[in-house]
Amino acid sequence: MNWLNIFAARLRALRGRESVIHDIDEELRLHVELETEANIERGMPPAEARRAALMSFGNFDGVRDTAYGVRGGGMMETFLQDVRYGVRVLARHKGFTAVAVLTLALGIGANTAIFSVVNELLLRPLPYRDAERIVMLWEVTPEGRRQNTTSRANFRGWREQAKSFEGMAAFSDQRVNLTGSGEPEEISLQLATPELFRVLGAEPLLGRVLADEDGRAGTYGVVLGHGLWKRRFGGDPQIVGKPITLNGTPYNVVGVLPPDFQWHIRQRSGTGRPAEIWAVLAMPPPGTGATERGRFLSVVGRLKPGVSFEQAAAELKTIHARLELESTYNKGYGAEVIPLREQFFGNIRKALWLLLGAVGFVLLIACANVANLLLSRVAAREKEIALRTALGARRVRVIRQLLTESLLLSVLGSLLGLLVAWWGIGALVAISPRELTHLQGVRLNLTVLGWTLGISLLTAVIFGIAPALEATRLNLNDALKEGGKGAEGQGSRSRRLRGALVVAEVALALMLLASAGLLVRSFLRLQKINAGFETENVLTMVLRLPAGKYPEDPQMVAFFRRALERVRALPGVRSAGMVNFLPLYGGLGSATGFHIEGQPAPPPGEGPGASVRVADAGYFKTMGIPLLRGRNFTETEEAEARGVVIVSESLARKYFPDEDPLGKRIKVFMSEEPAWTEIVGIAGDVRYDSLTEEAEPTVYEPHPELTYPFMTLVIRTNGDPEALAPAVRREISALDPDQPVSDVRTMNQVMADTVGRARFNTLLLGLFAGLATLLAAVGIFGVMNYSVTLRTREIGLRMALGAEPGRVLMLVLRQGLLLTLIGIGVGLAGALALTRVMSGLLFGVGATDPATFAAIVLLLAVVSLIACYIPARRATRVDPLVALKYE
């Protein structure tokens, strides 16, 4: 109650001094009147009665002022006074204010921008009802590959046996051709069990979500994503019930999803891009053997309330151990549960915290710089402060006033910083990797503004407190005496404080530079990886044939052969070929087991395994994949199945260690009744899944052998590959005007997308480290420059006594470099501790890579040398005569 009253009184006081004073005046006036009347009653003449009444008050104004002080006019008004005074001081020293505000704006702006990303990705709830209960369920392969898709039989087993889940849904992405009503278009379809929408807690915008009957032949139903509905159907409100055609099959639209529905699991996605349309995933009845084979399902589940994540994970493991015994296809497979947020952002979380830490460091360096500036100003203001102290201001009062100035600086810095952040967020989104689709929603929201306000208050205290304490520690007598030694007289305390700031700046900058340096080295390594093919001047695009139009395999084979013939005939095309799944395209590939002739037939699900790619002779030539031994596919083998395959080098090494694989026959289990195929060639290894993982053993089959309805064309051009895209499109539509072309990308773009996240991290951390170094350099320069100013007299004296300019130069340089060296020492210790947590972000570089550290130390030393050299040069130009007359 008590503090509430006081606060209320202070607030009232803030409303305006005038009204409070008026209040008091009225009260006191009444008092005088009553006293006067009493005096008159006692028999005094009116005039005298009033005089006596006023007399009894003594000093009327004094009483009023005392009363006002008690009434709480004090604190708030003092604050406003301080603010007004602070504004005047800052306005008078425009240069100082501009530098300080700019420095803070950079620090605070960078912090706000990065925090808004962290907030969006790591702190804000995901856009699903009770999102913390949604988890992904995956298998772990016998080779230890995590987050692997599961089979239909296993999904059924999980769903029927698990008690921890409220619901569970399986889904699988694939591409389909949408035809009718306009241009044919290839879109991403998600086949899902109808529970998906219940598990995610999604409500439709129009119509309904999927139901079991939507999977029955004749009444196929689809749900449209909001984007597709707007783009393709113009947001038609009557869309529900209308038919659409996917891959030549008619479907009925049963509903439309709301605009904020986002659902894309990148891991093992069959398309590598968010689905735009949903249909029911067919689940064959139990007992159908085929459901045990083929792992292509992703599974999402919703935990029952009260069931912990660990319980669910343990239960799934138990169930999966049971399933392992039931089916030979499950031998060696495990299962795992992953919370949704980790699924989305697990791989970028570390990088984001690192970036947030980095901008924190930048802000600290900015604070150190501003503190430095303020300290230098202390000298200039010591007389003012001494005067105030002499006139009776208490130390706390002066500190409060100085802190108010700091606060003003940081608030101005924040305002400008918000501008920096606003611009920075735009830039962040622009350079963000493709996989971070969630970043599109980043805004300056209230949480972010609160954060900015918080850090600006905090920074005001951090950079303001030391100078304020220092300023009020002055010795009154020394300061007031004219000709007292100025700041020189402040002695070593202040100098040590400034020295400590320089050391801290250098140390922080070094830690950032070291982290950034390691990331840059990793990134360079990443780009130098030999993925097994050449990326320059290669254009790629996906063609998917609708099943209705090309029902027989030979028709598809013929179409692609004709398409390639036309493309090869185009001017500017050096070679062309095709493959079913492009290396590093960002989605699922195909893989299976195989059987080597002459070896005992492995039990189903066991035996050697390999990635399977469908390719033609032109693919190897165009991608620059070397044929190490044997021969390429022949024209005849590309036209009809002749029982030949090419295998990769690692497959040959792994499964034919002591013999010549050429001429050996294998059976690849891509179909129910695989035929024997002969190995005719050995190709170089290609990294299909990931740039950083070793290439998997791979089998290449010609198209007639294993016919896919979709293939990716690869075209090597003489000039800019993108310029050729329209011509290729024309050739395709000349062949079939209804045939869509999708994913037109150059191989360089594919590679850039692959390393997108690494580039994002490296770019940002590099930027912040550069900013930190620049600020630290400015800081060192400021301190050294100021130090030279303080020592002008001393330097002048030395020179008058015959000191060479070279010696004077060294004198100043030595001081600066000593501080830098201490900073480097401290920074190295910090960096060694810091970079250790970066291990997951590095590739091919140790967390304590000596070369990187050496380069960083050298860089920082040179920067610091330059920052010291300019003031040192100035010192050598001191004119002894002027310097000695200086005081």
Partner: protein, 110 residues
């Protein structure tokens, strides 16, 4: 004008004001009058001390104030004892009694 007839101990003024208000709400002038009456014309509080003390006490929450019309129809600021003020008055009276008792014992001791 008669000057103050007994010196006030530091801190006693608050208790006197609270005591005066314990008989009912008063404006500032009335507080001085009542203290004079109640003390048998022995205690005369100066205006210069009264008002700051009143504001201080008000901020502590011991009295509340309100603008009302007085007996002659003029707007005056009336102060009234709050519950916290009544409690405070009891505490201060008790400690005052102890002090008086202690001093009396000291003087009687020979």
């Amino acid at each position: 004008m008669t000057r103050q007839k007994a010196d006030l101990l530091q801190g006693t003024l608050d208790m006197l004001i609270l005591k005066a208000l314990s008989l009912g709400p008063l404006h500032g002038y009335g507080v001085i009058q009542r203290i004079r009456q109640m003390s048998g014309e022995m205690l005369n509080v100066e205006q210069g001390s009264l008002y700051p003390a009143l504001y201080r006490i008000e901020q502590k929450g011991w009295v509340s104030s309100k603008w009302e019309l007085n007996e002659t129809g003029r707007r005056a600021k009336f102060y009234a004892l709050t519950r916290a003020g009544a409690r405070q008055l009891r505490t201060e009276e008790a400690s005052w009694d102890r002090l008086v008792l202690a001093i009396a014992r000291m003087r009687q001791a020979t």
